[in-house]
């Protein structure tokens, strides 16, 4: 798809020639992202007609209006680190928000931060740490934008047990609607202050996103307000891999799923944790090695029975405290919970502990874990509900979807059970299975594609959830199409009605949202 000279000039008039391009070498870097090979059989999705970089809300609004005028589709992204940011079978104009990278305000007293969309989790943490605060930290890693976890995409991660699910941290937004109008959510619209995102009346935050975000399919968020949380560690940055003050961290593994389920519930109710995630306990070894070669050497020295024990029902947990007495209490409770649930502790050295902390505090190390072994990964068997139930989903999805890939040698298969799960502050939990395939191997890719093609149906049929993050990581509504025969209420119809109502021209590309068109 090409863009007319008239349209290109109109867009260039908004941002200046420096911030727009239609050179193919520039454009190809906006249609290439991990996961593309699963959707297109190629590293590249269809090439966009142009790419543009606004520097302000007003420029975003003008760009969106111009796109509407010329019938051009667009979709905005921050780090652009996922297919949900960059890929579509319909060429669209990627709106790269890199220039909108300001921390607008940190209200330390009320623990609210206002940021532009490109601001990363770690960038915000560097600033909030100075005033004894921290933002939520998604496990997509420190480079991911605050906006993606709170508004645009999803929100699960290392800090969920103490910062809740990402979307539930949103306290306000400035939002360019798909037709270019600007709406200020909640108190921002009423009183001009960043205090609360809900109201007046029914909350439009419910249109901004649901459990999953709209992935750019319903406009562009140009500022967001997020809740920030007490940070009891050092104010100054810590490195390399320093252990923070006032923290304890543990890697545990459990004899069976019931014990880890019990641990999860007891930990949640005790309300003591800074971090909690369920994952093969040996994951830290992967993060603490410099290369796959080192990992391989290490794994070869772990006996299989030990690998099975630590690699099946594992968890990492960290507690923090603002005082000695608080830490004493929390340690006592945690030790009791460990004892009650027959958890074993994995002994790790100081370097590995430092690596663990870096991961706990920033989501860092995720690339080593997920991408380094084979070059790419994808998740499947996702669900978000009562944690016990999600634990079973993890097991079932593993058996039905992932195990065949293991047996075929089509993916990385060292971990006996690579399921990841977190507990949210509001009480529900999230689970997903990690599948690491090689994007440079057509055999690996094709085998993975075949299994993933069945996954949405398998998960829906089991009755645990709607796969692919309830469509937030689903392409062209595939997860919804697979699930809806099992869902008694037609919510998709309403999603489409909302899409049509706020985006009459379907200008915000809906590849990872819902299209306005009814299903046949």
């Amino acid at each position: 798809m090409t863009i007319s000279n008239e349209a290109y000039k109109a867009l260039e008039d908004i941002v200046g020639s420096e911030y727009i391009s239609r050179d193919p070498a520039d454009l190809d870097s906006y249609c290439f992202v991990w996961g593309n090979e699963l959707l297109y059989g190629d590293k590249f999705s269809p090439r966009p007609p142009a790419v543009i970089m606004p520097g302000s809300t007003e420029e975003v609004s003008a760009i969106v209006k111009t796109c509407n005028r010329f019938g051009l589709k667009y979709r905005a992204h921050a780090s652009g680190f996922e297919v949900a940011a960059l890929s579509s079978d319909t060429p669209f104009i990627p709106i790269d928000l890199r220039r909108m990278n300001r921390i607008v305000e940190i209200d330390a007293k009320n623990r609210i931060a206002v940021v532009e969309p490109y601001v990363s989790q770690l960038k915000l943490f560097l600033e909030t740490r100075k005033v004894g605060l921290r933002p939520l930290m998604l496990s997509s890693g420190p480079s991911c934008s605050v906006a993606s976890g709170t508004a645009a995409h999803y929100g699960s991660g290392a800090s969920n047990i103490s910062t809740d699910y990402g979307a539930r941290n949103l306290l306000g937004a400035e939002w360019v609607l798909p037709n270019g109008d600007i709406i200020k959510l909640g108190s921002l619209g009423s009183s001009g202050e960043w205090i609360n995102a809900d109201g007046p009346g029914p909350s439009l935050r419910g249109v901004l996103r649901g459990y999953g975000g709209a992935n750019g399919g319903n406009g562009i968020f140009t500022k967001i307000a997020t809740k920030i949380y007490p940070w009891y560690g050092q104010a100054k940055p810590m490195y390399p891999y320093e252990i923070p003050e006032n923290f304890d961290a543990h890697i545990l593994y459990f004899p069976d799923i019931n014990k880890i389920n019990d641990f999860t519930q007891l930990l949640y109710e005790a309300s003591i944790a800074y971090h909690f995630q369920r994952f093969p306990a040996g994951g830290v070894f992967l993060m603490a090695t410099e290369s796959n070669d080192e990992t391989y050497a290490l794994l070869q020295n772990i006996p299989q029975d030990m690998m099975d024990a630590i690699g099946t029902h594992g968890a990492t947990v960290a507690i923090d405290a603002s005082s000695k007495e608080e830490m004493e209490y929390k340690r006592k409770v945690l030790n009791k919970i460990i004892e009650e649930t027959e958890a074993n502790e994995l002994p790790i050295d100081e370097t590995q502990m430092g690596v663990l902390y870096h991961h706990v505090l920033t989501g860092g190390g995720i690339l080593k874990l997920a991408f380094r072994p084979t070059g790419s990964f994808m998740i499947t068997g996702t669900g978000d509900e009562a944690m016990d139930s999600m634990g079973i989903l993890g097991r079932e999805a593993w058996d039905k979807i992932v195990s065949p890939l293991y047996s075929a040698g089509a993916v990385f298969n060292a971990a006996p059970y690579a399921c990841w799960a977190v507990q949210y502050g509001e009480g529900s939990g999230h689970v997903e299975s990690l599948v690491q395939y090689d994007p440079a191997s057509s055999e690996s890719v094709n085998t993975a594609v075949e299994q993933f093609g069945k996954a949405d149906h398998i998960v829906a049929e089991m009755g645990f959830s709607i796969n692919s993050l309830e469509n937030a990581l689903s392409y062209n509504e595939s997860a919804l199409k697979a699930a809806m025969p099992y869902v008694p209420v037609d919510f998709v119809k309403y999603m489409k009605m909302i899409k049509r109502a706020i985006d009459p021209n379907n200008s915000s590309d809906p590849a990872f949202y819902v299209s306005p068109d009814e299903w046949e």
């Binding site: 520039d26 680190f81 391989y296 084979t374 090689d438």
Partner: protein, 428 residues
């Protein structure tokens, strides 16, 4: 190697954008997080290492041609290596090598910034990158009475490098450096007008044959002169001799030292005494070619295989170059040894230092880019409260001075040799 050799790396790039930032583990200040000057200035993803890996793949797949636009995408980059450090913290990829191969491919196809033609012409005719007559190469050392190793022999060769040889504003530092060693009793000489370019910069620009040519000439000359140690004040030359020659199979059989390493040694041997107060609040800029790019080359030959299903490993195991083994501590120890000097570190240092901006032909072909990159570094120096920016590379120093003048910032810029000399004044 070839561009095709790295195709799997290109396909395994996941566009995480870590190549744009200092490693997250060492991020200190929200205002100074970027490591890639190219993407910081030009913003489009194509200007990052990931972007260039994608460009390389596009080229291999015939999706793009090499033309003026893609040329700029590829060449608006100082080849500083910061991206490579950040990427390798998490991945087993070789983005720097891909970008290097991309440049070789551009040169093969004649798609290069037009300014490069002048440099290559100068190298061909005058054996230097400065477009100056080779006959004048030794003029900077006139009157110093130092041995001419074209005719005599000595244990140590002082290789000035093109920049020090022909940029008169840098002659005082070059002279001071040589004088320090002479006064310390080192048996040292220079090649004078027989000295040729190390070939390092042109290699970075994409001219690999030039490196091979100058490597042969240089090593032969060293053999004839019987030198055991080569010391250079130029970070580019240091990296070329120590790393690039080894990389292309021409590892010289001599000790290669940067002048800071030699000075450090002489301080330890008590042959240089730093006694005079130099009251100055400084920060130190790590030159790319003395730092992360100067990590010794690691040769590897073997096969890539899959284990545990699809995990990619090397047989035999391949050690990664993280840039950690460059020259970082030596200059710092020298500065700390100077009485009165207060050393404050910037936020981006050592293997994750911000580039000065002048590398890989950028100073010549995209001067505004070189200047803005240097200005960013000066801003960082100011942000940590320094009144002076010190470095140990002539191109860094020259570019900082130029940028400071352009922006009106009156920050002092010093070659480390100058500060050592100041600290020794009483000893003259």
């Amino acid at each position: 190697m070839s561009l095709e050799y790295y195709q799997e790396d290109m396909m395994r790039c996941n566009r995480c954008s870590y190549c744009k930032w200092v490693p997250h583990e060492v991020m200190k200040d929200a205002g100074f997080l970027g490591i890639c000057p190219s993407v910081e200035k030009y913003n489009f993803h194509s200007r990052s290492a990931s972007g260039r890996m994608i460009t390389a793949l596009s080229l291999l797949k015939g999706r793009i041609d090499l033309n003026d636009a893609s040329r700029d995408t590829i060449y608006q980059c100082q080849m500083c290596g910061g991206c490579d450090v950040s990427c390798k913290m998490e991945r087993d990829l070789e983005p720097y090598e891909v970008m290097q191969e991309l440049r070789f491919r551009c040169v093969e196809n004649g798609v290069i910034p037009p300014e490069y033609l002048r440099i290559t012409e100068s190298l061909k005719r005058e054996a230097n990158t400065m477009e100056k007559p080779k006959a004048n190469r030794g003029n900077w050392a006139k009157g110093m009475g130092v041995k001419d190793l074209g005719k005599e022999k000595a244990d140590v060769l002082f290789h000035a490098g093109c920049k020090y040889s022909f940029d008169e504003s840098l002659w005082p530092a070059a002279k001071s450096g040589l004088k320090l060693l002479l006064n310390a009793g080192v048996d040292i000489g220079i090649m004078g007008k027989k000295e040729v370019c190390c070939g390092g910069r042109s290699y970075e620009m994409g001219f690999k044959d030039e490196l091979a040519k100058f490597a042969k000439i240089t090593i032969k000359a060293w053999k004839s002169a019987g030198v055991k140690t080569v010391v250079t004040p130029c970070a580019d030359c240091y990296q070329a001799f120590k790393v690039l020659y080894d990389k292309i199979g021409e590892k010289p059989d001599v000790e290669i030292l940067h002048i800071t390493e030699f000075i450090h040694r002489l301080i330890k041997e008590d042959k240089i005494k730093l006694t005079r107060e130099v009251p100055l609040n400084v920060t130190y800029h790590d030159p790319c070619h003395l730092g992360r790019l100067a990590e010794p080359w690691i040769h590897w030959e073997g096969e890539i295989k899959k284990v545990y299903g699809q995990m990619v490993v090397h047989e035999p195991p391949k050690k990664k170059r993280f840039g950690t083994n460059g020259v970082y501590d030596v200059p710092r120890e020298i500065l700390k040894a100077i009485p009165g000097v207060k050393l404050t570190e910037m936020h981006r240092i050592r293997e994750y230092a911000w580039c000065c901006g002048s590398g890989a032909g950028v100073k010549e072909s995209y001067p505004d880019f070189a200047e803005s990159t240097a200005a960013e570094r000066i801003k960082e120096a100011r942000a940590v409260g320094a009144e002076a920016l010190v470095s140990s590379c002539p191109r860094c120093i020259s570019n900082f001075k130029h940028s400071a003048a352009q922006t009106g910032d009156n920050i002092k810029v010093y070659d480390i040799i100058e500060l050592v000399q100041q600290a020794m004044k009483n000893e003259e």
